[in-house]
């Protein structure tokens, strides 16, 4: 691993100031992604800023019923928290579908949504990658791309965001709180991650010097009609080829509210609120779910190896909506897909 200097600020303001003062500095919390990337020489921070001394580990439900997750609470502590399991089971389920127990014990909530893509070309410094080295080209576009994007990609980058937690947070209308030199601001989850466009090196809309301090999730956690369906090459401990976070609110057998976010298909969790709105008032049945899946897949294109996702994704959406409708969420330990 390359050499770097190390600092351990005691306040968010100190950490933010350190980030601004040293353009090569990077934040470390759980370290499960950054240490890996440093070992592969994908990222080379001159300074590593350890924020584990900051008081950002709280998990609580506030007076308005909003779930408030500290940026430094671990993924395991969050997913197994009794309030999260009872009020926001979709979030808990998605988090338990991710990584391994060892990684969930170390990885933090802030780090989870800031993790970098697992694109093979991003990870291999001997190949071109516009995300790792802007202007060098995209190795995946005409290379091996079976894990890559089918929606929202650009000619510069077809990488996907790897997080499961983020897919659930997108479906649940979460809000990210960031704090930096200009103070604190709230970023709606859909605005937090960005599509690659001509700047695939930028994963999100944070400004230099800003630090994620909290993630809040509104009171409506869709406790009864939800599922997180994750399809992958092996049944445990693998990134999604396609995943679906689905939640429905029913009035009788009519759709009163619908939320669907996809993982493994785009540079960010893929959600279309305009498409969801078109299906309010429709009967909650398979033809409706199939029509919704087709509408959500609008504009999808394959790149060769990942063409199978064009069939897999709509089928996964229909299956997930059937699970959510029936109130039988996917069990993340018993792998049978019903």
């Amino acid at each position: 691993m390359m050499r770097f200097s190390y600092s351990r600020p005691q306040t968010v303001a100190q950490a933010a100031a350190s980030l601004v003062a040293d353009p090569s500095a990077q934040i470390i919390a759980g370290g499960t992604n950054l240490v890996d990337l440093m070992k592969y020489d994908v990222t080379r921070p001159g300074t590593v800023i350890d924020i584990n001394g900051l008081d950002l580990r709280d998990i609580r439900v506030d007076g308005e019923g909003t779930l408030q997750l500290g940026a430094l609470a671990t993924n395991a502590d969050t997913a197994y928290h009794p309030e999260v399991q009872s009020g926001w089971p979709l979030l808990s389920s998605a988090m338990l579908a991710a990584a391994s127990p060892q990684l969930r014990n170390a990885a933090t909530n802030g780090g989870n949504i800031l993790q970098r893509t697992r694109c093979y070309y991003f990870y291999d410094p001997s190949t071109p990658c516009n995300k790792r080295r802007p202007g060098s080209g995209c190795g995946a576009l005409h290379g091996v791309n079976r894990i890559h994007a089918i929606l929202g990609e650009s000619a510069n980058c077809i990488a996907v965001h790897p997080s499961d937690m983020a897919v659930a947070l997108a479906a649940l209308d979460a809000v990210v709180t960031v704090e930096g030199p200009a103070g604190e601001r709230q970023i709606p989850f859909d605005d937090f991650h960005r599509l690659p466009g001509d700047r695939p090196d930028l994963d999100n809309t944070m400004e230099r010097g800003e630090i994620v301090t909290a993630i809040s999730v509104p009171a409506n956690g869709f406790g009864s009609h939800h599922t997180y369906l994750k399809l992958r090459d092996r049944q445990s401990y693998a990134f999604a080829l396609v995943s679906v976070a689905a939640a429905i609110r029913l009035e009788g057998e009519t759709i009163a509210e619908l939320r669907v976010a996809l993982g493994g298909v785009a540079h960010k969790p893929w959600r279309r609120k305009d498409v969801e709105a078109e299906f309010i008032g429709r009967p909650a049945n398979r033809p409706t779910f199939e029509a919704f899946a087709q509408a959500l897949m609008e504009g999808a294109t394959g790149h060769g190896h990942n063409d199978f996702k064009l069939d897999l994704a709509p089928r996964a959406i229909v299956r997930a909506l059937e699970q959510a409708h029936a109130g039988t969420p996917q069990n993340q330990a018993v792998k049978v897909v019903f």
Partner: protein, 169 residues
Amino acid sequence: MPEAAAPRAGTHTISLTIDGAQRSVTIDPWTTLLDLLRGPLGKTGTKKGCDHGQCGACTVLIDGKRINSCLTLAVLKDGAEITTIEGLATGDDLHPMQEAFIEHDAFQCGYCTPGQICSAVGLVNEGHAHSRHEIRELMSGNICRCGAYTNIVDAVQSVLGENQKAPTP
């Protein structure tokens, strides 16, 4: 007695409780916890497999919870209480999980075994596994190239005291 050399610039002195013993060490910030354990501290019971958090051979317990020691920097763990495979036994009395791995023949070459056993102890501590399915899922961070998985699940299940041997899909 020669005077102790002053720490090199850029190094950090941390103190850890490792397998019950207090240790103070001066390290470079890029030293992983795994490399600290296996190098300066001589705790070679903890294994380096993939060195990227994918195989679980380096699993240790920090404050009772399992993590991949290859993916954390030692400097982040100042003040932590760390248990490795070498700290599970009490004198000559093996930890019940170590006994169970022997009883159930839960290893072949043995390279992944320290990580498997630390992970299994963590699994029991964490209290989320109640069935064979859940044991399998919650041991998924530990790879065994010899394929001793069936017997590993038996060993973990025997310690958990679960007798509902659900059919394996």
